[in-house]
Point group: C2
Chain length 213, copies 2
């Protein structure tokens, strides 16, 4: 199995966390987003949207989209599970993951920020307001959602797909200066997560394509 | 089971399609987005992000996020299924759904368009470029993805979760004037879908909160 990704990509980071939680061996192939390698025709044949990650199975199937890849890994390697057993709690876990993947990250990612700055002439304050409103607002919603579901982790006391989305989003939000100071429950969950070896192993700075030093 | 939604909301439309495909009875409670009813405290207690849809189960669980709700309906009412049996094909189905739900729709939805026009002073041409670049680009990627998976529908010859995402996105894209003329495979799939009674039943104009006439 080969994961095509980029060290700092939030969606790649999600998949690395799940691979590590499940103890799955894989090869890693960096796709340098800053050099535009995601737009090479060889890569586009695996991922028509020119996004990372792509997971290529041993049979050569190229799988796109981190939410779909996490579900695939859960179905292919069910133990340990990243979804609770109860149907309603599974739905709430996926709802947290989707709030991050559909409401927070798409409005924060690099290509959108680049467009806002370069094509729409957003100045620093305008970018800050955008990030606070959309990704920041979605994170505030996740803080409320975890009031019902949360324990040491987003849902109960074991890591799930929701935590695999939360940690990269938190990491990216800090990087972009989004104010997370009111999100005390999520901060504790984030700290529980990053103390685990699987999350440490998946951390952007621990990837082969991260800058040295 | 009660669905809180809005007739023209793309994410609500997805869930209505799946409920109709599976023949599930439900009550419908309109949330008027133009009147800001999604920001009422009673509604926010069910959906902290102030988004539609929310599905409230007979036991009172409030479920958010259309992708999570569709997975819940699939697990709770497995027949007829909206996901193929093979693990890799399931992943490709979910990847199409996620491309629409994570890359296309979040950049097209009403609150973002309102922000761009009212807070970022985008003129008509700037909005058009934005919509063509992001939601339009994601739909072009889906056209390519279905080259591998598609038949009469996005994946093979029966409707799946991917079609439940495609049809509302297509409907919304037409409404906002996004050029879909090159997407010939998706156009045929869209036409196959809307010919089915379940898709007709779920259509925005056939909802109780749609304007009359």
């Amino acid at each position: 199995m080969k994961l095509y990704g980029y060290w700092r990509s939030s969606a790649t980071y999600r998949v690395r966390i799940v691979l590590a939680l499940k103890g799955i061996d894989y090869d890693y192939e960096p796709v340098n987003l800053l050099k535009g390698e995601q737009k090479n025709s060889a890569y586009l044949s695996k991922n028509p949207n020119g996004l990372v990650p792509t997971l290529v199975t041993d049979d050569g199937d190229a799988l796109n989209q981190s939410l779909a890849i996490m579900e695939y890994l859960e179905e292919s390697f069910p133990d340990p599970s990243i979804l609770p057993g109860d149907l309603e709690t599974r739905a709430k876990t996926r709802a947290i993951a989707a709030t991050i993947a559909c409401e927070a990250q798409p409005l924060m990612n690099l290509r959108i920020q680049k467009y806002l700055k370069e094509e729409a002439s957003f100045d620093d304050n305008a970018v800050k307001d955008w990030l606070s409103r959309w990704p920041g607002g979605a994170m505030a919603a996740v803080e409320k959602m975890t009031a019902e579901t949360g324990g040491d982790f987003c849902v109960g006391d074991t890591p799930t797909m929701a935590d695999a989305c939360l940690v990269p989003q938190w990491f990216g939000a800090l990087r972009f200066g989004i104010d997370l100071s009111g999100l005390t429950r999520l901060k504790k969950i984030y700290e529980h997560c990053i103390a685990l070896p699987a999350f440490e192993n998946a951390h952007p700075l621990n990837q082969p394509d991260a800058p040295k030093g």
